[in-house]
Symmetry: C2
Subunit: 214 residues, 2 copies
């Protein structure tokens, strides 16, 4: 795999491919044509072909895709053969919903620890996940070998908390706050901005649907 | 604006631009250089220039960007001069968190109605939003002129509920379930897959950071 040229957009589709081939395997499907694949995941064939060519995967002309082969391929690519523990920081409404969200149903990711400053919930267990005091974050992340955090604090605590995460050695932050946080270059931040998602959807509905397709 | 050629990736960044210029306006900034803009929103200058050229926006060489002008420009482009009401379907943990999530703080979108099948919560008001029975969805959406829904039901109810939304005349669905739903071509579905987001972030951390940048 020639890593350096895989575009971000392709990488973002990897979990979709992985999950769909896993689904096919679970229901006993052995192979699938490229047309069926496109229809099943609602991504056009040309995009799929381009993605797969970046990855060095893996269809035979006139045969289609071998489901078991592709499950193994994407599993390895996404490191799904090992479990990844992550932490959640900020146990408010959204934080609680994410603790309850069954990430491990469709991925090998698990929230193993949560952090908050509220003495009422520090020391409790929420949806099976222990809640620690923010003061313990550096120690706990080291102990539990966690370097990815989900950030669900309030907007006004976002930057301050991000600083604490960086200080604790975190390498990746999935940021649910609408704040763009400043972190060193060696820390990667992905944004899940729920208002953005809604606005973008509404934009598409309001404008000509002849825009190129999702 | 030559609508037909604006790429999806650009459209997805519109809310980011809008929000940042709004933030600058709120703090009294009048103009900003393209370098400062790139730094502030963590998007590289070349991408910003390309995006703005698609949109027909709006910087003067050697001057930078006029903040007020750009707030107005993006506000109009995103229809932020009118409020959009949306509905939420499925008032579980995630649904409740989204009802509580202050979309209107950073956008002109508001959740105006929620729907569920649980008789215990139908008829209640959650975070200021009335919860209706699913049976009333067609009537309520018509009455309230809502054509965008947030889908936060459980996975096994996703397709069935999507069918009901289509039947009720919904044009856009923001789907938080990990299920790819089948809908007619005139209905647009955007996916927010939280496990995907985590997997993608972890993929980036595990692989060479010489991949092109977010």
């Amino acid at each position: 795999m020639t890593e350096n040229i895989v575009p971000n957009a392709t990488i973002k589709r990897l979990p979709i491919y992985y999950r769909y081939f896993q689904f096919l395997k679970d229901e006993g499907t052995k192979k699938i044509s490229s047309g069926e694949l496109a229809e099943g995941i609602k991504i056009d064939s040309a995009t799929i072909r381009r993605d797969f060519s970046y990855l060095g995967a893996l269809g035979k002309r006139g045969y289609g895709y071998d489901v078991n082969e592709l499950v193994d391929f994407f599993k390895k690519l996404l490191n799904q053969d090992r479990r990844t523990n992550v932490a959640l920081v900020g146990v408010g409404n959204l934080g609680n919903a994410l603790l309850n969200y069954n990430f491990s149903r469709t991925s090998n990711v698990r929230i193993a620890a949560a952090f908050d400053i509220d003495p009422e919930i520090v020391g409790t267990v929420k949806s099976g996940v222990p809640v620690y005091d923010m003061n313990e974050i550096k120690e706990q992340l080291e102990l539990q070998q966690i370097d990815v955090c989900i950030l669900t604090v309030s907007s006004n605590a976002a930057q301050k908390t991000a600083n604490m995460l960086v200080d604790a050695g975190v390498k990746g932050i999935l940021n649910f706050t609408p704040i763009i946080v400043n972190v060193p270059n060696n820390v990667r931040v992905h944004y899940v901005d729920l208002a953005n998602e809604l606005q973008t959807l509404i934009y598409f509905l309001d404008h000509d649907s002849s825009l190129d397709h999702e």
